[in-house]
């Protein structure tokens, strides 16, 4: 059975999360993950640009963004540009099409990705991306301080295109006029853009790299990396939807995951072996439904650290780390 899934970059998304880290899209039926099989995706670009971005600039920025993911040495995903097309994104035609569209009603949405996938195996059939042409875009190599960087947003959307969900490693503040403004993030897959002029999201972060490598592992990745696991509880009850960050004090790498198991279980894989600091925080820096559609997500607790360093052993997963949090 084919199923269509829509994810928006800024305001909301719909996905069924798995216990694993960062976040992967799940099929909602069993544990199958949405992914390309084989790990080679062909894509088309629409043959028109947007104000300030020619069709050629558009294609070049997309090629650079796809290359960013393809260059991850610990992952095997590959992409192939199939050509320009006049077909629009979001048409269920078996083609993966990327293009600009006018969506003035989505006044906080820079771009979005949709999928068609087999909901038994999770194998992707088609994935389309649109960029909202009501915003001002830049495709220049150095960016433009007054425009959104097309390549940065494309790297984010391509993360969805290959099956990654949103990461929660970031801090935001609520704006007086509504919405949130990001103060900082440590993942390209954070759901809120760093803003006009920023080209920081052209570069993948450890959380993004762990996510794509876990989904499309290169030879030796599983044996050369490790994982941490644990359980988050409050007053003896499981905490669902807690965000856990594994921090490597040696490298400074931050990789996140969510407690989505029925017992508040979490697991974060793809970590460089070594000791980690575990920090648990409520999921209060973006709309919860941009991460998953669970009804009982608990955000009423204080930021808490696990009292010990937790080991991620090479080729395995460490002992269970139980973390008890307190209400605010």
């Amino acid at each position: 059975m084919m199923r269509r899934l829509l994810l928006l970059i800024v305001v909301c998304g719909v996905l069924t999360g798995r216990v694993d880290a960062y976040s992967h899209f799940g099929t909602g039926a069993g544990d199958a993950l949405v992914h390309w099989d084989p790990a080679l995706a062909r894509w088309f670009a629409t043959n028109r640009g947007a104000p300030g971005v020619s069709a050629g600039d558009f294609q070049a920025a997309l090629l650079r963004a796809f290359q960013t993911w393809q260059d991850v040495p610990t992952a095997t995903i590959e992409f192939s540009f199939a050509g320009f097309t006049s077909v629009e994104p979001f048409e269920e035609d078996g083609l993966s099409v990327i293009g600009f569209q006018d969506h003035p009603e989505m006044d906080r949405v820079l771009g979005a990705t949709t999928f068609v996938f087999d909901d038994t195996t999770g194998a992707l059939v088609e994935a389309d991306i649109f960029f909202n042409s009501m915003f001002e875009w830049s495709a220049g190599t150095g960016g433009d301080p007054n425009r959104f960087d097309l390549q940065s947003v494309a790297v984010h959307e391509i993360g969805h295109f290959i099956g990654l969900g949103h990461s929660a490693i970031g801090e935001t503040e609520v704006m007086p006029q509504g919405g949130r403004r990001v103060l900082g993030s440590a993942a390209v897959m954070f759901p809120i853009s760093l803003g006009r002029g920023s080209i920081a999201d052209r570069t993948l972060q450890p959380d993004d790299i762990a996510g794509v490598s876990d989904l499309y592992p290169a030879a030796g990745f599983d044996s050369s990396t490790g994982g941490v696991r644990g359980r988050v509880r409050k007053g003896g009850a499981p905490v669902i939807g807690a965000h856990i960050i594994a921090f490597n004090p040696r490298t400074g790498a931050l990789v996140g995951g969510f407690a989505l198991g029925a017992d508040g279980d979490f697991q974060i894989l793809g970590l460089a072996p070594g000791p980690y600091v575990l920090r648990v925080e409520p999921l209060d820096d973006a709309d919860i439904d941009s991460f998953f559609d669970l009804p009982n997500v608990d955000i009423d607790f204080l930021v808490t650290y696990h009292p010990r360093l937790v080991a991620a052993p090479s080729g395995g997963v460490g002992d269970r780390a139980d973390i008890t949090v307190r209400s605010k």
Partner: protein, 232 residues
């Protein structure tokens, strides 16, 4: 031709003479020279002084381009008490090849501060098993004599493995050590399987990459140990 015949005759006539003399005199056998020691084995314990590690902050990429600290950390490997064993094989009167195996259980401590969302500062820690196996060269400055302190210098390099509970390998790396010390023979025997016994003190520096070390370089720890050795 004649010379050859003479030589053969001389040999034949001389041999019975020597045998005869030997059978008649039978002087007491000279004392056997002590056999050269084949190797030392030493077992001991010591102190590894610990080391500060490069602190890495949990930095987010701020919207203004600079880092935004989610929290800051500083880490340290605490001092530990390593156990060690050595096998020392003489290469001559002054040099020896030395194999060393060590085990320690240091604690890695990370201090967390400045949480962006106000979590209180705290220190988190965990103990790890550190196994080292190295080979090196030892040079003594004077000949070994009973009740005489023998200074030496030594250095070596080898393998280090950091292992967590359940013998799960966390990381491996390279260990380098250098320093000096003394050997003090308490007894030397000319015969028997055990040809001597003594005490040994070592002091120096241990450098380690990988393991519980930092990404940016090697950790450096002062080390001192005392051992009991047997010479075989």
């Amino acid at each position: 031709m004649k010379r050859v015949v003479f030589g053969v005759l001389f040999f034949v006539s001389f041999t019975p003479f020597v045998s005869l003399v030997s059978a008649q005199a039978k002087p007491p056998a000279p004392p056997r020279a002590p056999s050269a020691p084949r190797f030392d084995v030493s077992i001991g314990a010591g102190i590894l002084g610990g080391s500060s590690l490069d602190g890495a902050n949990a930095d987010l990429r701020g919207r203004t381009g600079g880092p935004l600290a989610l929290f800051t950390t500083s880490s340290r490997i605490a001092g530990s008490v390593p156990l060690e064993a050595r096998w020392t094989f003489p290469l001559g009167p002054r040099y020896a090849l030395e194999f060393r195996a060590g085990w320690a259980r240091p604690e890695l401590r990370t201090k967390i501060d400045g949480d962006f969302e106000g979590a209180p500062p705290q220190t988190v820690a965990e103990r790890f098993d550190l196994y080292t196996l190295d080979v090196g060269l030892l040079m003594v400055f004077r000949e070994t004599r009973p009740r005489t302190m023998v200074p030496f210098i030594s250095g070596g390099a080898g393998y280090a493995a950091t292992v967590h509970e359940g013998l799960t390998l966390l990381e491996n790396g390279v260990v380098y050590r250098g320093g000096g010390g003394f050997k003090y023979p308490l007894s030397v025997r000319r015969q028997g399987r055990v040809k001597g016994m003594g005490i040994r003190g070592d002091a120096g520096l241990v450098f380690m990459t990988g393991g519980a070390a930092t990404d940016s370089g090697a950790t450096r720890q002062g080390a001192a140990s005392g051992s009991l050795y047997l010479t075989f």
